[in-house]
Symmetry: C2
């Protein structure tokens, strides 16, 4: 069965998902909706969507699947705007990086959490953003986490899982809190640290000089500081609790490193660096 | 004129320099010296050096150029061992990442800083280490910083500059303190942050789970945490003052970010992220 798909927010993730659905031959029609007609026109021109509308009510009319790919801060207002128009048969899902926050936004926006709402998050992306960066194999080989709630309709979960599997992604289920903690550690914290480092160096008087001598390691380390600032502001606000928890832990570790350097404690430094290298080599290669 | 070159420490940097010199047809003979006969035998087998010795005195006999590519912590003892044997005509240089520390090690080890000692530092490397990771184009297109002192012989500086230029590197002169501050900011701090992050996550109970969901951004961000722990312990101890200065600045910035997240101050977060993205896009692309 070919699907009528509505995508709210046709950027890197929403656009790549549209292309992957198209590539899989799943689409009857893809309708894009956002607040920016420019972005939507570009998405249509690039062949990512078939048509677009600025009217959320029109976007969800007769949709089989509605996917929310807007920044976290816009989730609630989109839900409010579609509330009276979303068919109870439609499957609703999202791609937000902080699940508790999206679930709360859906509850506030729709007045309830519909049984056919399946919270989801593809662990994929690049430091680029916008529909021009979208490509149909973005999710191939990546993990997608779904965090269904107790009352979520299992057939809706299976449907969303099946669509993601068509993109080449590996789908897993996880509890909401677990997702938010794991992502705070592996994604949100590194982004904050990278943004913070580049801003710190950019604030120094010798910044021209400093960046001139940045080598490959620095470029790799700070690549994620080229990510979309609005998206990351929203993530920091949306996953605040889990982020603050891991930041406190990290700052404690950093203080320990500082003290070891102050005291010239080579054994302690070596121990930390060796443990880190062993974990990095074990898990990331 | 073909050169007799002595390399102390035939790892990634020393080995790649040897290969580049060979590639440029500059070498009469390359002699390797270190404390590990296994490493030296491997370097000879790989064709990186012509012969090796465990005896520093023998290694520098009749050498035209002596390059110190051992970890920072070993510089002084190598200098002590060659002190009575180094010809005053020989050019002595090094590749250490913290210049004040190497200069002090040379002063202590040799009893003086010879006019033909040219402190140097190639801003190149990978997270790999050891001679098996060496390749002859490692320095091609990279920057090499020389930090000659007031009494350094200009002809020795020109000689070392010329050899580095044969590797394809772009050579620049810089004051010692400036080098150490710039490198603390662009290289030493990012390595410490990356080691710290991986160690922090590896210490959590859910570490298997956490690393399983690490995506591309995390892998890029933590690649440098696979670097050689001994080398990085030595760098932290050798460039302690400059590192502590930049770490204090960074920790202040991190605290500011923490406060902004705690207070839900989206405007401040957005400002920091936008400034960072602008600097990253401007300087690194």
């Amino acid at each position: 069965m070919k699907l009528r798909i509505s995508i709210f927010g046709v950027g890197l993730i929403g656009g790549s998902w549209a292309l992957a659905m198209r590539h899989a031959g799943m689409t009857h029609e893809i309708i894009g909706c956002s607040r920016s007609e420019n972005h939507l026109a570009e998405a249509k021109k690039l062949g990512v969507i078939d048509r677009y509308t600025l009217d959320p009510a029109e976007a969800v009319r007769d949709a089989d699947v509605v996917i929310l790919a807007v920044p976290l801060g816009a989730m609630q207002s989109v839900c409010k705007q579609i509330q009276a128009h979303l068919s109870p048969q439609a499957i609703l899902t999202d791609v937000g990086s902080a699940k508790a926050s999206v679930i709360e936004a859906v509850r506030q926006g729709l007045g309830e959490i519909p049984p056919r709402f399946v919270p989801g998050h593809p662990i994929a992306g690049t430091e680029k953003s916008g529909v021009s960066a979208a490509f149909d194999s973005l999710f191939d080989g990546r993990r997608v986490i779904l965090t269904p709630l107790e009352h979520t309709d299992p057939s809706a979960v299976n449907r969303v899982r099946g669509l993601w599997e068509l993109t080449g992604a590996q789908v897993e289920l996880m509890a909401v809190e677990e997702h938010d903690q794991v992502l705070a550690a592996t994604s949100h914290l590194p982004h904050i640290l990278a943004f913070g480092l580049v801003d710190c160096l950019a604030g120094m008087r010798e910044q021209e000089e400093i960046f001139r001598y940045a080598a490959g390691g620095f470029k790799d380390f700070t690549r994620i500081a080229s990510s979309d600032p609005v998206m990351w502001r929203d993530i920091c606000l949306a996953n605040r609790e889990a982020i603050l928890k891991i930041m406190a832990l990290y700052q404690k570790d950093l203080q320990q490193l500082t003290t070891a350097i102050e005291q010239g404690n080579g054994d302690e430094l070596l121990g930390i660096f060796q443990r880190a290298k062993a974990a990095r080599d074990r898990f990331c290669l």
